[in-house]
Each structure stands twice: as structure tokens, then as C-alpha cells.
């Protein structure tokens, strides 16, 4: 079997491979530049993963994970402030709550945006998935991991033993249910009377999976630290992050993009806390790349609903989506978040 498979993979490689475009010299030069940039950033108070964790999480406890009542939402385990942690995704699958959450989400759209159309990814159709119905919320079990090297999220990690469920709206999948935020991702929707497509992220986090700060990344959004932050929303403004240049892999263009993020806190009529984020992404030339409205609804039971409505551009970094807006405003997103079932996430 091993030899058979190796032969198959060997056939996927061409007889003549394209020349390597980088050299060890160019890597060294880039590495040195990044090291200098990193040193300057650290000295001037740039955001670093460990620093952010130290701010947003309670102080260290030694071995194991203990439970604290400190953060909003409660019961986030106390973590070593010198350590680096992240959630390890599990195998997402349907649960009894999947249909219920899915029905509530799509039911809200039917009631408030009649005529909308779910646009399944071609990938699903190509793989024979029934895309006649929009997806429901998968249930994933995520495990809190600690990295061996506190400065390196690619280092080995070991489980802390803490496992939590998360619900996430994602397209169905043929053979396996990929986890929380990877392929195939959030569904696309054609809203009535709109030319462009809207993409909707939706996730529900139980108490004990997040902090209530506002410096972390949006789910699905590129941001420093990625999974190593535990906040649910990003309210840092005007941030530049050259690492996000890989966003343009598919387009074969390697350029930085810039975030302009507006954030405000409010609450629902019945007193639940809401953090709203307006996100505008531009390229180096100032052209608009994408826009998004997102929010977190912190529910009374300590769980949190994260919704994000993103409008992607059409033709790459030179695109201009100045005339495009996410279909749902913050009031509508809040109403949608509040319409989801309020059963405990379990």
C-alpha cells in the first residue's frame, strides 16, 4: 500500500519542476529584516502574543488547569502567563442542536430578507454533496493546548485536559467534517436586490472558551496571533500587518493589506452586552478590498454568539468595493444573534 500510494503521489509531480524562486541569501535577508522589525515592535510596545495573553488572561498557575470565575463569561481556566496556549480543533459533526441553530439562523433570513439564495461552494457540488439546503451549525470539541515554546505557535503542544464544545455555521462536507475555522468555511448568500455575495460567519462559544477583552481576532479574520488569542473580537484600529500578505496567494500577488477597525460597545434592550465592529480592509494603494460588520453578543448564561457579515471584493487587490456594504447592519445582526436558541452550549 505504501509503495502504491508513493507511486501515485510521484505521478502528481512533473518530470521537470519549476525553478526555485528564492535563495538562501534572500531568505536570510528577509529573516533579518523581520527580526529587526520584531525587535522594534517589542521595544515600542507592539502587540505580541505572550504580552496579549498576559494582559487578557489571569495569572499563572503551575501544572494543570484551574478554573477561575474572573472573566466575563466566567470559568476561563487560569493559565501560565509565561505560556502560549491555543485551542486544538476536533472533529466537527452534527448534533441535536445543529438543526435547531440552523433553522433559527436561516429562518431569520427568510423572515427578514425574503428571496435570499444560499450559494453553495463549487467544491461541495464537485464532490457530490447535497447542497439543496443551507448548512446547519456543526458541533466541534476543542481542546486547550499548551505550546512547548511560548514564542512559537508552531512548536509542539500538549493538552491541558480542558475540552469545550463550540457551535459553528459551516458548509457541509462530504467525507469529513473539517473543524472550526478551516475548509470549507462559512456559507455564501446572495441577498435580494444585491449584486455582490455576502459571506456569513456564525459561531456560539460556551463560557470558559474566551476572554471578554477586545484585542483578539475576529473568527475568520487574519490577525496577529490567530488561535493564540482568546478574545472573540478585534477592536484595535488602523492596524497594519505585513504577515497578512499571504491573503493574496490565490491571486499570485504579495502585498500588505491594512485594517481600519471601528469598535463600540452597546447592549440589547434586555441588557445583554454587545460589541460591534466595522472592518474595512484596503490594499497598499488605498483601494478597498473588503468590508465587514461583526458583533459579539455576550449572553446571560456566559455563552457568546459571534456573527460576521463580510462583503468580499471582486477582482483582487486593485478592486474597489466602495459602493458595496454588508447586507446586515448592526441592529439586524444583533436581532439575528438574539434569535438563535438560548439553550446551553453543550
Amino acid at each position: 500500500m505504501n509503495d502504491d500510494m508513493r507511486e501515485i503521489f510521484g505521478k502528481a509531480l512533473p518530470e521537470t519542476e519549476p525553478p526555485v524562486a528564492f535563495s538562501s541569501d534572500s531568505l536570510l535577508e528577509t529573516g533579518k529584516r523581520k527580526r529587526r522589525h520584531r525587535a522594534i515592535g517589542a521595544f515600542t510596545g507592539g502587540v505580541a502574543v505572550v504580552a496579549a495573553l498576559a494582559v487578557s488572561l489571569p495569572m499563572a498557575i503551575g501544572d494543570g488547569v484551574e478554573v477561575s470565575q474572573a472573566a466575563h463569561g466566567g470559568q476561563l481556566p487560569e493559565l501560565d502567563s509565561d505560556g502560549l496556549y491555543g485551542w486544538l480543533e476536533g472533529e466537527a459533526e452534527a448534533s441535536p442542536a445543529s438543526e435547531e441553530y440552523g433553522d433559527a439562523f436561516w429562518g431569520w433570513l427568510e423572515a427578514n430578507a425574503p428571496g435570499f439564495e444560499y450559494i453553495p461552494d463549487k467544491y461541495l457540488e464537485n464532490n457530490g454533496v447535497d447542497t439543496s439546503k443551507p448548512p446547519t451549525f456543526d458541533r466541534d470539541e476543542i481542546t486547550l493546548m499548551r505550546y512547548a515554546d511560548a514564542e512559537d505557535p508552531a512548536s509542539e503542544s500538549v493538552t491541558t485536559g480542558l475540552i469545550r464544545p463550540v457551535y459553528h455555521l459551516a458548509d457541509s462536507f462530504p467525507w469529513d467534517k473539517p473543524n472550526t475555522w478551516s475548509n470549507p468555511g462559512p456559507p455564501m448568500v446572495q441577498m435580494p436586490g444585491v449584486d455582490n455575495l455576502d459571506i456569513f460567519d456564525a459561531a456560539v462559544y460556551p463560557a470558559g472558551t474566551y476572554t471578554d477583552g477586545t484585542k483578539g481576532p475576529l473568527p475568520q479574520a487574519p490577525a496577529k496571533g490567530d488561535e493564540n488569542f482568546f478574545d472573540l473580537i478585534n477592536c484595535e484600529g488602523g492596524e497594519t500587518d505585513n504577515d497578512t500578505s499571504i491573503l493574496y496567494y490565490d491571486l499570485g500577488i504579495d502585498v500588505p493589506i491594512f485594517y481600519d477597525i471601528e469598535c463600540r460597545e452597546t447592549q440589547t434592550a434586555d441588557g445583554m452586552r454587545v460589541v460591534e465592529v466595522g472592518e474595512t480592509v484596503t490594499d497598499k494603494a488605498g483601494n478597498l478590498v473588503s468590508k465587514a460588520n461583526a458583533l459579539v453578543l455576550y449572553r446571560f448564561d456566559g455563552s457568546a454568539v459571534v456573527l460576521r457579515n463580510l462583503v468580499p471584493g471582486r477582482e483582487g487587490p486593485s478592486r474597489n468595493v466602495a459602493d458595496m456594504e454588508p447586507a446586515l447592519g448592526f441592529e439586524e445582526l444583533t436581532d439575528l444573534a438574539a434569535s438563535l436558541p438560548d439553550d446551553a452550549v453543550e
Binding site: 501515485i8 475555522w181 468555511g185
Partner: protein, 172 residues
């Protein structure tokens, strides 16, 4: 970094570029992205070189970074999405003279989910054990086994039909 460490780094890059680039290509199916993934991984490696050279699992560490970069759809998700309405994603155009057998294999691999594809590439191309693959993919050994079984089943099914059809078509 000391000059001697730079030399060690250069030597490692020179020795492993081809293998890592092939691994990335088998995971993502595109040479440009594969090269970007490897370049990104090597730059990160440079930043950690003084620690990494003492590690017994340097290759595993680099493999993890390469595979992560190659399957990282999260960061560019909406760009993939916007293209997917008109074209199947992750199927780069190929030269017309690409051998039919290779096209069949590439098409079959492209139909696999990326994590599944990466699992197969690590297991059977890179000869990584279930446990080693689990560490690289950051999942449990049970997940590696299930991904492998599903991937093999799917791949076998796709290649059995399409392989023969394409070969017959090419021989006509």
C-alpha cells in the same frame, strides 16, 4: 546569528528545499503557493534557528510549518470564496501537454479535502508514522487513521474510473 549558524541554516535550506516544496505542492497542488509556503516556513525557521538546531525533530517542525501554510485556507478564505462561484477552487491551470496520467492523479488529489490530502502526503510520501503525522497535523492519531482511510477510499475510487477512461481516451 553567528556566521557559523548562518552557514548551517544555508546548508539546511539547500538540502531540504526540494523535498519541502514537493510536499507543499502535493498538499496544495500549485507550485506558486507551494513555494510561498516553503519560503514562509524557512523564514520562520530562520527566526528560530538558534533553538531549532538543537531539536531532534527539525524536519518535523519545518514540515508542520510547510503543511500549515499550504493548507491554510483560513486567512484567505473569502478570496477563495469569491472565485469559487465561477470556477472550482484550487485547480490551477495546467499546460496542455501535461501527461494524461498526471492530470488524472492531480484531479483526484484536488477532490480531496486539504487536510485529508496533507495527511496522505505525510503518511505515504513523507513516510511519517501515524503518531508523527498527528503531531504535524495537530490532531489525534485516531483522526489521522480516519482521514487516511477516507482519503485512500476516495482516491482509489476516483483513480480506478478516471484513470482508465483517460488512458483509453489518450490511446485512441
Amino acid at each position: 546569528m553567528k556566521p557559523s549558524q548562518e552557514d548551517e541554516y544555508r546548508s539546511y535550506v539547500a538540502a531540504r528545499t526540494t523535498a519541502m516544496r514537493r510536499l507543499a505542492y502535493l498538499v496544495c497542488g500549485d507550485w506558486h503557493r507551494a513555494e510561498d509556503a516553503v519560503q514562509d516556513a524557512f523564514i520562520k525557521l530562520y527566526l528560530k534557528w538558534s533553538k531549532c538546531t538543537t531539536s531532534d525533530s527539525l524536519d518535523s517542525y519545518v514540515r508542520r510549518m510547510v503543511v500549515n501554510a499550504a493548507i491554510d485556507t483560513q486567512r484567505r478564505l473569502w478570496f477563495r470564496k469569491e472565485h469559487s462561484k465561477s470556477d472550482p477552487p484550487d485547480r490551477p491551470t495546467r499546460p496542455e501537454d501535461t501527461p494524461v496520467e498526471r492530470v488524472a492523479v492531480l484531479d483526484a488529489l484536488a477532490c480531496l479535502p486539504k487536510r485529508q490530502r496533507a495527511t496522505l502526503a505525510l503518511r505515504f510520501w513523507e513516510d511519517q508514522s501515524v503518531e508523527q503525522t498527528a503531531k504535524i497535523m495537530r490532531c489525534s492519531p485516531a483522526t489521522v487513521k480516519s482521514q487516511t482511510a477516507r482519503g485512500l477510499r476516495s482516491l482509489r475510487g476516483m483513480l480506478t474510473d478516471s484513470f482508465q477512461e483517460r488512458l483509453q481516451g489518450a490511446n485512441r
